[in-house]
């Protein structure tokens, strides 16, 4: 299944393919559109992620998600390797279902619940960059407003008060839903997420989960390029990190 992009490059990203992943090739295509990046699909029954500079858990319905989204995927054989990589500082990006899996796996705090109105919702929304001091947001500006689509039925972020407090104190909330002018308001909250949270990173900053789909806005023909900033940040961080080694 693995497809390797043509250019031999320094940066190698693994896109994990769970049986019900459906944004795997979309993520692969978005990553491969950056010069110097190789993106490989890695089957969830693999057990090693050695040699990869970053790992992407793409969107989809990993195991059908009839139970709780991501609750079965966390037991996939590959998750041991994801955990190990995360603990050694490798970048791990979870998009949509990938975010849900990271929460279920305990790599990110909190959980994603059914949308407030119980309906699946797919549309382009505004996100405010809350913290650009992370490997995933470094090329963006603090307070920058991004237009990135969501597509989920269970994206309402929830965490207990203590966790929420810690997230805010450590600046782990990287993006919040906002309006076109950057106001984080109740009206701009599509799913009932606490404090309009759209994406959070780990305490160590190297694991990032978000419900919106940056890979869907990486070329003008698809209606925008605001998703590129997140991938570009990762790539620049990896390049620096590699050259420092």
């Amino acid at each position: 299944m693995a497809t390797i992009s043509k250019a031999p490059t320094a940066i190698k990203v693994a896109v994990i393919q769970f049986p019900g992943s459906n944004c795997d090739t979309d993520c692969q295509a978005a990553l491969a559109s950056f010069p110097g990046v190789t993106a490989e699909i890695v089957w969830h029954k693999e057990t090693s992620l050695a040699g990869y500079d970053a790992i992407v858990l793409p969107g989809g319905f990993s195991y059908g998600d009839y139970l709780r989204c991501g609750s079965i995927a966390r037991f996939s054989p590959i998750m041991g390797a994801v955990r190990n990589a995360a603990s050694t500082g490798v970048l791990v990006l979870g998009i949509c279902n990938g975010f849900q899996i990271l929460c279920e796996a305990g790599l990110l705090p909190g959980t994603l619940m059914r949308n407030r109105d119980l309906l699946f919702r797919c549309e382009t929304l505004h996100l405010r960059v809350e913290n650009n001091e992370s490997p995933f947001t470094s090329v963006l500006h603090q307070g920058q407003v991004l237009e990135i689509p969501i597509a989920h039925g269970e994206g309402s972020y929830f965490a207990d008060a203590e966790t929420l407090k810690a997230l805010n104190e450590n600046n782990q909330v990287l993006v919040r839903y906002c309006d076109a002018s950057g106001n984080v308001s109740a009206a701009a909250n599509p799913n009932g997420s606490l404090e309009n949270i759209a994406g959070i990173c780990s305490h160590g900053r190297n694991v990032f989960g978000l419900m919106p789909h940056p890979e869907r806005v990486c070329e003008p023909i698809l209606g925008g390029t605001d998703g590129r900033g997140i991938f570009k940040s990762m790539i620049e961080w990896m390049a620096t990190h590699k050259s420092n080694n």
Binding site: P19, G20, S21, N22, C23, T25, D26, A29, A30, K45, G59, G60, F61, Y63, G64, D65, Y66, L119, F120, R121, C122, E123, P149, A151, G153, H213, E215, R216, C218, I221, L222, G223
Partner: protein, 745 residues
């Protein structure tokens, strides 16, 4: 045959319960030369149902133009037609109904409708790339029990489509939804899927190679969907709720696995034939593959993976459990199947083999329970030419009987009619962006999708104005084809193929059969005029509730090709100052219009006339302008007429428009809301105005400059001495708010 179980005995009551007429049963006796077993009776019943055999419609369907230089697989040959799109690439696409199941269990009915059409596409060896849906419900307005039921059906169907399409990861990129009381108790759910493949990847549903093993792959067989094909071939009644077991339960995750596993398997060259188990399940797939291959197939029920214990052979044969396929594997390559299906954690089993005797033979261990010539089931079913009632063309609308209304009020009323209002509430529930190819989002005239692997740009639209079809089925169905083509032209596309879903009432009633015949002839005429083949489709008859038949609804889905990214055109105005042109006439035909229906509560008059030559000239003129880079926006006039069209082009922008339609000596409501065909509103840069006028004059189509896009977000329309003006924000709120406010009430 000594071991044939004889329980229960075959009585006239049992035969009637299986939907077989006494004449059809006589035919069964003469084919077998003996009394059928219980299982055989069931097999004949489903295979000879309208749903599987098209016994009432096949002679009509032969009228469709189905050939052409680009046709790689013709309509009716396989599960879906295949059309060449150049550079060795092809598309497989088809639309199919799941009306009856959705009436009884909207969520699962619609979900499995989507699942079924997706299987039809990957069975062809194509990777599915996008979905569309055409839906019809009774009115969702008001507090009546009927309206509440209709809202429940609408919400359930949309959620079911979302459930299946979103999970399997296919974008639902376009569609249509209409609300009319003729669909009370009998909603329509037509699902479309398109897939992409290389020419050499076309897979066949034939059981080829004597001795080749027959594999069952996919989900285990349960008791769901028992004899669903026969259920679909009856009218819906109050008792239909008891048929709920005839509705299947969908598992999109299993289908995702099945899709990936089958495409991986097909890429290995170990498959001799493949067929999905859809209507009539195991029965249909075995006898159809044998019939196509000119062979026989022998299977053992006991080897079939089963979900429930104690299922009888009859149940296993007639189950319509979802997410299952039959694969004829080249002998010696069985290990490949094992490897791939184990990778994807899917059940599989070798259940039989291809034989040389032309028989569909089903064993239950040592007992033979079915032993029937395969061809007799698949191809030798009964054929009927039903009686068509003579048709009286509708009286033209007498305008004097239509009180004039104030367009100022009528436009917002039209925009809030659920059939015209924004369908965002619907498509926001569908993932319409996955696979990152959606270049034009839902809500424009046609969906535009970029197929990366083939480097092709496709457009697709689906249309049917059933009011037109009710009042004059021939004209209505021609308009359905023309409107689809017009929608494609507005997006910059040239049509390449059509798939149709013929939704009608009971064909035994002569007026219904007339509608079917006239629609097929009208569609055929339209497809010949636009030079596009019909590549397949679906017939759904018996769409009746106790209140009567639905309005005839021959849904047309048309696929087109766009040559260059620069040609992709959308309906929204792009810049203040741009000049607005109407290509086509101002028009005057108010008969069968939505204005008449929504404002005056009348469904009457003659639908607008359609002249193919004029229509085609207009599409060509538009495409010529698009290719020269002149067109900033293009939107066709359909339900609600010119005023609705121009308003819609303002929506989603910060602009307004000032339009003067001149003095046509007609009532303002006629000018603004008539539905004369062959009309397109475009906007162009002021610097291109003269060039556009020159081009349009040269092409000889009627046109006129009618105004300009304005920075002020008001819509102003002048006709004669009357000026009507609305804030766009107010119109947009009405348009966007209509369906959510009904559904959230």
């Amino acid at each position: 045959m000594a071991n044939l179980p004889a329980n229960p005995s075959i009585t006239p009551e049992l035969i009637a319960k299986h939907g077989l007429s006494p004449e059809e049963y006589e035919k069964v006796l003469s084919i077998l030369g003996r009394e059928p077993s219980f299982e055989e009776l069931g097999v004949f019943s489903v295979m000879w149902s309208e749903h599987c055999s098209y016994k009432n419609s096949r002679p009509e369907l032969r009228k469709f133009p189905t050939t052409g230089p680009s046709v790689l697989v013709k309509a009716g040959e396989e599960n879906a037609g295949v059309i060449d799109i150049g550079d060795g690439w092809a598309v497989a696409f088809k639309i199919e109904s799941h009306n009856h199941p959705s009436a009884v269990e909207p969520f699962q009915g619609a979900a499995t409708g989507v699942g079924g059409i997706i299987r039809d596409i990957f069975t062809m060896g194509a990777r599915p790339v996008f979905l569309m849906d055409s839906l019809r419900f009774g009115s969702i307005k008001g507090d009546s029990e009927q309206a509440k039921t209709n809202r429940r059906l609408f919400a359930g169907v949309v959620a079911g489509i979302a459930h299946y399409g979103n999970c399997i990861g296919l974008p639902t990129v376009a569609g249509e939804v209409y609300f009319d009381d003729s669909y009370n108790g009998n909603p329509l759910v037509n699902a479309f899927c398109l897939g992409i493949l290389r020419h050499e990847q076309i897979a066949r549903g034939a059981a080829e190679g004597i001795g080749n093993p027959v594999f069952y792959v996919g989900a285990e067989t349960g008791r769901d969907g028992l004899a669903g094909a026969a259920f679909a071939s009856r009218e819906l009644t109050e008792e239909s709720k008891a048929d709920r077991p005839a509705v299947q339960v969908g598992d999109p995750f299993r289908e995702k696995l099945l899709l990936e596993a089958c495409l991986e398997l097909l890429a290995t060259d170990c498959v001799a034939g493949i067929q999905d188990m859809g209507a009539a399940g195991l029965t249909c797939s075995t006898c159809e593959t044998a019939s196509r291959g000119g062979t026989g197939v022998e299977i053992d029920i006991q080897l079939v993976p089963q979900r429930a214990k104690g299922q009888t052979p009859y149940e296993v044969l007639l189950s319509e459990s979802q997410e299952r396929m039959l694969v004829i594997v080249k002998k010696g390559q069985e290990a490949t199947v094992k490897e791939i299906f184990e990778k994807w954690d899917l059940p599989y089993a070798e259940i039989g083999k291809v034989t040389d005797d032309g028989m569909m033979r089903v064993r239950n261990g040592n007992d033979v329970v079915v032993n029937v010539p395969a061809r007799s089931l698949a191809d030798d079913g009964p054929l009927y030419s039903r009686e068509a009632a003579p048709f009286t063309p509708p009286a033209p609308l007498d305008l004097a009987t239509v009180p004039q209304t104030d367009p100022l009020k009528a436009l917002p009323q039209l925009l809030s009619h659920p059939s015209i209002a924004s369908k965002r509430w619907v498509w926001r529930q569908y993932d319409h962006m996955v696979r990152t190819g959606t270049a034009v989002l839902p809500g424009s005239d046609a969906a535009v999708f970029i197929v990366r692997e083939a480097n092709k740009i496709l457009a697709a639209a689906t249309d049917c104005n059933a009011i037109y079809c009710k009042l004059d089925p021939s004209v209505g169905s021609r308009i359905a084809v023309a409107e689809c083509a017009r929608n494609l032209a507005c997006s910059g596309a040239v049509p390449i193929g059509v798939t149709d879903n013929l939704n009608f009432g009971n064909p035994h009633k002569p007026e219904n059969f007339y509608q079917l015949r006239a629609a097929v002839e009208g569609i055929s005429e339209g497809c010949r005029a636009f030079n596009v083949p019909v590549t397949g489709g679906n017939v759904s008859l018996y769409n009746e509730s106790p209140a009567g038949a639905i309005d005839p609804t021959p849904t047309i889905s048309m696929v087109g090709r766009i040559d260059e990214v620069a040609h992709i055109t959308t309906q929204a105005f792009k810049q203040a100052g741009d000049q607005i042109f109407l290509i086509g006439e101002i028009g005057s035909e108010l008969g069968a219009s939505h204005y008449l229906l929504a404002i005056h509560g009348r469904k009457e008059g003659a639908p607008p006339a359609l002249v193919f030559d004029k229509e085609i000239a207009i599409h060509h003129a538009l495409l010529g302008l698009i290719r020269k880079g002149f067109v900033r926006s293009a939107h066709d006039c359909s339900e609600g007429g010119l005023a609705v069209t121009i308003a819609e082009s303002c929506f989603g922008t910060n602009f307004g428009a000032t339009v003067d339609l001149g003095d046509t000596q007609q009532r303002p409501d006629v000018v603004l809301f008539n539905e004369t065909q062959g009309r397109i509103v475009i906007s162009v840069s002021p610097s291109d105005k003269a060039a556009v006028e020159a081009e349009l004059s040269k092409s000889g189509v009627p046109f006129r400059a009618i105004g300009a896009v304005t920075a002020q977000a008001d819509l102003s329309i002048t006709t004669g001495a009357s000026v009507f003006a609305w804030p766009v924000a107010m119109l947009n709120e009405t348009f966007e708010g209509a369906i959510p406010s009904l559904m959230e009430s």
